[in-house]
């Protein structure tokens, strides 16, 4: 009995000694993070090694208790000792596994946090790089646009002596007058907006087709050259440039040619409606016109 008790006691003390060996933390003050992490990894490896040794110890203890139970007469004592040993072994195993799992979880969380921090840093670097790339692209675009704009500027302002930012708005005016298509000018010269009183007359007597009226929007009236306006503009022509004068001359020539025929048509249309109620108004308008 004493033998079993001593044997089981030795086994238990060995087991408990191994179990508690890893939990004996030597208070070591580590100066930097590397020493602390190395200490923790060392403790973790010790815990893992104890878990590995626990299996062999449990097997050896089981064999010992089996032999003792078969060979000795004091079976009740052996059973009681075996119960105590099993309970302690289970509790220590749970303790060990809890400690190891906690350390594993801690290390994993730490690594996940490190990776998240590294991802943030990489995202920051990527954003910086993108900003740098956008800046480089922007600068390149500015350089390219300046390189491309210069010859166009000289082409348009070939007649101007010096290219200055104030005169840079003139090409817009030039382009408006010079790039206006001939057909549009002709259409505008034939525009019936100059004869607004035709609305009061009959549709059949109108020489101008309603389609042409509908195609010409009312908003284009200010841009439509009026014969009276063109006549008023003649004295101010010398202020314009040569190209403007050429266009204006061409336009006015066409309008002067078309004006008599249109007035004749208008007179005919109006005279045919002499008996209408609005004759007085028409005549007054004719006098004014």
């Amino acid at each position: 009995m004493l033998f079993y008790a001593v044997g089981v006691g030795v086994h238990c003390t060995e087991f408990m000694g191994i179990m508690t060996a890893s939990t004996r933390l030597i208070p070591r003050e580590s100066s930097n993070f590397d020493e602390v992490s190395m200490h923790q990894s060392l403790l973790f490896s010790d815990s893992l090694q104890d878990l590995k040794n626990l299996r062999t110890q449990l097997y050896s203890a089981a064999e010992y208790f089996e032999l003792s139970y078969t060979n000795d007469d004091q079976k009740q004592i052996v059973v009681e000792t075996l119960k105590d040993y099993a309970i302690k072994a289970l509790v220590n195993t749970v303790d060990h596994l809890g400690s190891v799992s906690y350390k594993v979880n801690d290390i994993l969380d730490e690594k996940v946090d490190e990776v998240s921090g590294t991802e943030l840093r990489v995202s920051c670097i990527e954003q910086r790089l993108r900003t740098c790339q956008e800046y480089i692209d922007h600068e390149g675009l500015i350089q390219q646009s300046s390189v491309i704009n210069t010859p166009k500027y000289h082409k348009r302002k070939g007649r101007s002596p010096s290219p200055s930012p104030q005169t840079s708005q003139k090409p817009g005016v030039f382009s408006f007058t010079s790039t206006m298509p001939k057909k549009e000018l002709d259409k505008r010269s034939v525009s019936p907006h100059r004869f607004p009183l035709l609305r009061s007359g009959s549709l059949s007597s109108r020489p101008v087709t309603p389609s042409s009226r509908s195609t010409t929007p009312n908003s284009s009236r200010p841009t439509t050259p009026n014969p009276s306006n063109t006549r008023r503009r003649y004295p101010s022509e010398p202020r314009k440039s040569a190209s403007m004068r050429l266009h204006a001359d061409r336009e006015n020539g066409r309008e002067v040619e078309q004006y008599p025929s249109k007035s004749k048509r208008l007179l005919k249309a109006l005279l045919s409606r002499r008996k209408s109620k609005k004759d007085d108004m028409l005549y007054t308008y004719l006098d004014e016109y």
Partner: protein
């Protein structure tokens, strides 16, 4: 005398049966706790594997992004004229 011996035997058998049931109860407790420990280990393994897979995926993504960044920075460093504005 025989009656007394029979009663004693019956008592002994009853005690033995009770002890046997106690042992069985103890063994069932131990086996139940071992199964719980096993369940915990299985769950811990699954959780740890999932965490490790997630970490591995993050590390792979991070590695690719770092490789891309390295190439981009290397390209930019190879053309220092880009920075001479």
């Amino acid at each position: 005398m025989a009656r007394a011996g029979g009663i004693t035997n019956a008592v002994n058998v009853g005690i033995a049966v009770q002890a046997d049931w106690e042992n069985r109860e103890f063994i069932s407790h131990i086996s139940l706790n071992v199964r719980r420990l096993f369940d915990f280990l299985v769950q811990f393994e699954a959780t740890t594997k999932s965490k490790l897979a997630s970490l591995n995926e993050k590390l792979d993504t991070l590695e690719r992004r770092l490789e891309l960044l390295e190439v981009q920075v290397g390209t930019a460093s190879a053309n220092p004229s880009l920075f001479n504005s």
